[in-house]
Symmetry: C2
Subunit: 681 residues, 2 copies
């Protein structure tokens, strides 16, 4: 079947139905008409903004990053206690706090047999051994708690073979080598970070018979060409020559043994031998050295470990069954000053300021606020995923929005927000009112728009929000539960650096001094993030009408439809489905307010279809699932089209295109149905 | 692994967690303390009870069953118009009414080539042809609109073979024949209705190489031994000798071409050749004749047809976004006076009485009431299933309960209710206040308890509710959407008849006179059902606090756990998880009321797990999915255990037992979490 035919037929029919459901843009009832019983209090907002203290964030960070705190390590457990103590403090604590522990499958290098990569000379003798640890530059890179660089979940094994340079280890990279006539069977592939996910490098390599994979950080990708010892940390923010990025090489997220089930003692666990998603061959991150042949000896072990989430709750005064959820992970690879302690330092300062107002009796929000410190994120968003599995229905029915601040500050230049369309307006409202930490008298919003912007058909030039992938703990909330989510950070001026990410990412050089000296001296960017997040939390928890603008989904839908039209077939201009803001029949009494708010909160849920992508674990959001197809439209449609492109009409692949199209149409109709006057179908 | 080990481990661990979540039984706040702004009005209730008119129900039935109205037939379309006209009536109509049409795959006998079953003599000549139609006894069994008896969705084909009597066509029946050394390959199996589902007879037969299946109604199963013409209709309620039961032989429900998608024009449709769930071999219901060999000629055809649901809505005054949904199907096999017009006659009388109060301005319910007339139920609950697919999220988020009245009156003896535990108390409250139609001064409740009762550990002797299978349109609501549901009818005194079902079920003898003369002369049982349903609708839509008693789930859970314990392994007595009624923190303002009601409404949803039974289409309710295992406990667990019983420890079947156990535990924990104080996790 032809592209054009499929799409014309499908979207054409959709549009016919769509016409029936086009909604005008109804405004939220004027609040002036009937004063709401409780609404955002601007004085409280100002108080909170004023009390968020850069110095205290700095002290939080110092304490949090004092020692390495790998997931499930004793120091990680100490931090659980620190969080509980802070959140139970009689002066500045929350209403309640509790740790929730899961037993999950993690992966560590052996204590007895470190992973080894040796370069072998022509006579079989070892001519070079790769560093097993990073150089102890600041005194923090030594000691038993600094975990050796390793590829978490890579299998153990001792492959030996010729070294082959495979660029970034993409599918194309290996095909290119094959085209060049290079024999890959039994080799050790040397790849650099970037391009594809970590685990994908080993998956791609194994398909060509490669026996082992080494991964290194190319200084060109991270250090803007400056890699001499005197040009790098502790003399600058650049990565020292011995730095190696650790990371999880697991394909999915959540505990590998308990997909879709919480990792509680009673839950069924897969046999680790049958788990899918682990790298198929031994893999190890190293500092780059070229030469050949190579002996690789990997002794990683899988271990069941306890890992805890800590949850702290402020009870809502009027709608305690509506949750504004704010979280970050706690575990790091080594000291993790940037990743994730910068976020946790902000989290603790936010909870302190709000907790103090609470304990003084000055304030209690309309809705409940939940603070979360997630465990074992670095191994694959494990703590947050198990949490969503355990409390699936409750969270899905009651959560207003999820706010994630993981790495609070990558750099000092500008705010960067990823999120779904309904959160755009509340982020704009918050950032317009907060001063930017840089020079000049700009708001965070006005500074932000200089770095990330787009031309909106509705609003003109506005800051652009990125879309949410699966890079941090927001993933289970948006993809699995369909909760409107956002991720907030301060970040780079891209004209000043080409670093793939901040240079010491996942290395033993990500320390307090690194942040304090290079990333955010004075902690004003941390403070800016705290204020932004704080203002958003207050607006979501205290506003009478939820500040979620679901009609902002219309731009996304329009662009998805346009992409389908331009790049995938001949579609009629008028074939768009528009989503208006819902309207309240009359009045603004407490029940009318709640009805409208439920429509706003639940709109995101209408895009979930747990049967849409049976092969993609957890992904069920029809608009934001992973897109591998090149056309920037509905991901299921784009991916199905990309797979069907070279198959014959009537193939199963083309049937899947039609199925994906139906799923999109049904989701859009469902969304429109949710926004129609509530007494209609 | 041992039974005892698996269960001991799993439920033991569950119980440890369970202890942490045991909730006391908190009462709903006393209404006396603070009068609710709107509540069930007893005067309105009495008015409605008084106005539900047996004579009008009789007139409705006469009109509805005047002509055959097979799904998608012109007369079925006429009835769509009749419903729209009634529900839009200016004096007695509803706020709005609309038809929703789907294009679905139905199955009909060929007009040109009727299905034929011939008995062949020793010389190959036809010695007997089975009747193709029923005898025209009352003048209503003739005419072009009386569809020939057939097995809907059975494939066409002309198998010829020796006739083998296979009892009820169960798996065991065919195994027994095999044990007796009877060759089944290429035979025609003669089976009688009952024992297993219609389609299962053909599935079982085909596994043994049977070429065709005939199905007949055994007079012993339906007529209490009375089958002479003068002993049967129109002289009694018994089935005349020529009566043949029609029916759908499709395994699943919903439109066969669009599983999980609404059958709207844009939806992807499976290739009919790839549809699973149709009978594998030609099948035909007949009047029983024995002899051999037989030629069977089946010419059934699949056709895409339009079928409509009609929805009528009364807008709620205070909570228009909460729906009390009441429905029945409209389509019949022939005249369908009992099935389904007795239910539709009640539906129309209920909507008339409520509509009249509404139009007079006397009354408007607190919540919205939706009346539904479903299309194509007889072919596999198609209209209601497509409706739940189209409005999945909206209905799941907002529907308080679904009430089904299909066959309103099977017989005159007693009420019979099937439903999930939360609806028990509202059915009891309603039926205690309504006089039973029989002799004496009993309430419906007091009469009911004489026929169906059980000893409840909590309440003592009470009427017993049956559990909901998939016999009518409640199935997609309870199994797919997880909405608390019930099915209401008047039925037999089982001591007076052994009829499998009312004798003329799905035949051309199910006519108005049949009801008027034998089933319910005077229509007082119809009136009793109308009053019961009406009272339940009013209680659910008008009560301030929803009259759903979720704590009544505790008895079910206890019995499931006990069955697991007694029959499946050694479990500790104290290992029960109890579900209390939720509690409201304080006050009974509109928001507190709504919060409590949301907990009540959504409790049923917490038992849904769309990934629990991947092979069972639509079934996702962890407590009420189909149970084939013999132990009366959680169906997934029971079924998995039954499959694992004869396999070795460590088999995949035993892993599935553990997985099912985890699913149960997670669902129970989720349910408990939903009922805890709303600000807790």
């Amino acid at each position: 079947m032809q592209w054009t035919k499929v799409l014309g037929l499908g979207l054409g029919a959709a549009a016919l139905l769509g016409l029936g459901i086009i909604l005008g843009h109804f405004a939220i009832p004027k609040k002036a008409n009937s004063p709401a019983p409780s609404d955002l209090d601007l004085e409280i907002l100002e108080t909170v903004m004023g009390q968020l203290d850069a110095h205290r964030i700095r002290e939080n960070l110092r304490e949090l990053s004092r020692e390495p705190h790998l997931a499930s390590s004793p120091r990680d457990e100490d931090l659980v206690q620190l969080l509980l103590q802070r959140w139970k403090d009689p002066e500045s604590g929350l209403d309640s706090a509790e740790a929730f522990t899961y037993e999950v499958l993690l992966s560590f290098p052996s204590q007895e047999q470190p992973n080894v990569v040796d370069i072998v000379g022509p006579t079989g003798d070892i001519i070079h051994s790769c560093h097993r640890t990073e150089e102890n530059v600041t005194g923090e890179q030594g000691g038993p708690d600094v975990v050796q660089p390793y590829a978490a979940y890579a299998p153990s094994g001792t492959p030996q073979g010729l070294l082959v340079y495979a660029n970034r280890g993409t599918e194309e990279d290996f095909k290119e080598l094959q085209t060049q006539g290079i024999k890959l069977e039994g080799t050790i592939a040397l790849t650099r970070y970037g391009g594809v996910g970590r685990g994908a490098k080993a998956v791609n390599a194994a398909k060509h018979g490669v026996a082992g994979v080494l991964v290194y950080t190319d200084p060109a990708d991270i250090n803007d060409g400056l890699s001499l010892p005197n040009e790098t940390f502790p003399n600058s923010w650049y990565l020292p020559p011995s730095g190696v990025e650790r990371g999880s090489y697991y394909k999915y997220f959540g505990d590998p043994l308990t997909p879709y089930l919480p990792a509680i003692p009673s839950s069924f666990r897969l046999d680790p031998a049958n788990v899918s998603g682990f790298p198929p061959i031994p893999t190890q991150p190293i500092v780059c050295s070229l030469g050949c042949p190579v002996n690789v000896s990997i002794y990683n072990r899988l271990e069941l470990r306890n890992s805890s989430n800590v949850l702290g709750i402020i009870r809502g005064a009027m709608e305690p069954d509506r949750y504004v959820l704010y979280g970050n992970h706690r575990d790091s690879w080594v000291h993790g000053a940037v990743d994730p302690s910068s976020g946790t330092a902000v989290l603790l300062e936010l909870s302190r300021v709000l907790g103090t107002l609470l304990k003084k009796g000055t304030w209690r929000p309309r809705r409940s606020i939940m603070f979360a410190s997630w465990g074992a994120e670095e191994f694959g968003l494990i703590g947050s995923t198990e949490f969503t599995e355990e409390f699936f229905n409750k969270l899905q029915e009651r959560t207003v929005a999820y706010i994630n601040v993981d790495i609070a500050v990558f750099a000092n230049a500008t705010l960067r927000v990823q999120g779904t369309p309904p959160v755009q307006s509340v982020v704009f409202s918050a950032t317009k009112e907060i001063r930017s930490p840089g020079p000049g008298d700009l708001s965070i919003y006005d500074n932000w728009i200089r770095y990330f912007n787009r031309s909106s058909p509705v609003y003109g030039l506005v800051p652009s929000l990125g879309s949410l992938g699966a890079g941090s703990d927001y993933a289970p909330f948006i993809h699995f539960l369909g909760i409107s989510s956002m991720d907030i950070a301060y970040t780079y001026d891209r004209s000043k650096t080409s670093a793939r990410i901040y240079p010491t990412y996942h290395t033993a050089f990500d320390t307090f001094d690194y942040v304090d000296k290079f990333l955010d001296p004075g902690f004003s960017s941390h403070q800016a993030v705290a204020r932004t997040a704080g203002s958003i939390i207050l607006r979501l928890s205290d506003s009478c009408f939820l500040p979620l603008k679901v009609s902002d989904y219309s731009e996304t839908l329009r662009s998805f439809l346009q992409a389908a039209q331009q790049d995938l077939g001949a579609l009629l201009e008028q074939h768009s489905i528009s989503l208006g803001q819902p309207r309240v029949s009359k009045g603004s009494g407490p029940l009318q307010v709640r009805m409208l708010n439920d429509q706003l909160m639940l709109l995101e849920r209408t895009f979930l279809n747990p049967r849409a992508f049976p092969e993609e674990r957890y992904y069920s959001h029809v608009l934001w699932a992973t897109r591998t197809g090149s056309v920037a439209t509905f991901p299921g449609l784009s991916n199905a089209c990309s797979r069907a492109r070279d198959t014959a009409s009537g193939s199963e692949a083309w049937a899947e295109v039609q199925r994906q199209l139906s799923i999109v149409v049904t989701a859009l109709e469902g969304a429109a149905a949710t926004l129609r006057p509530v007494e209609d179908l």
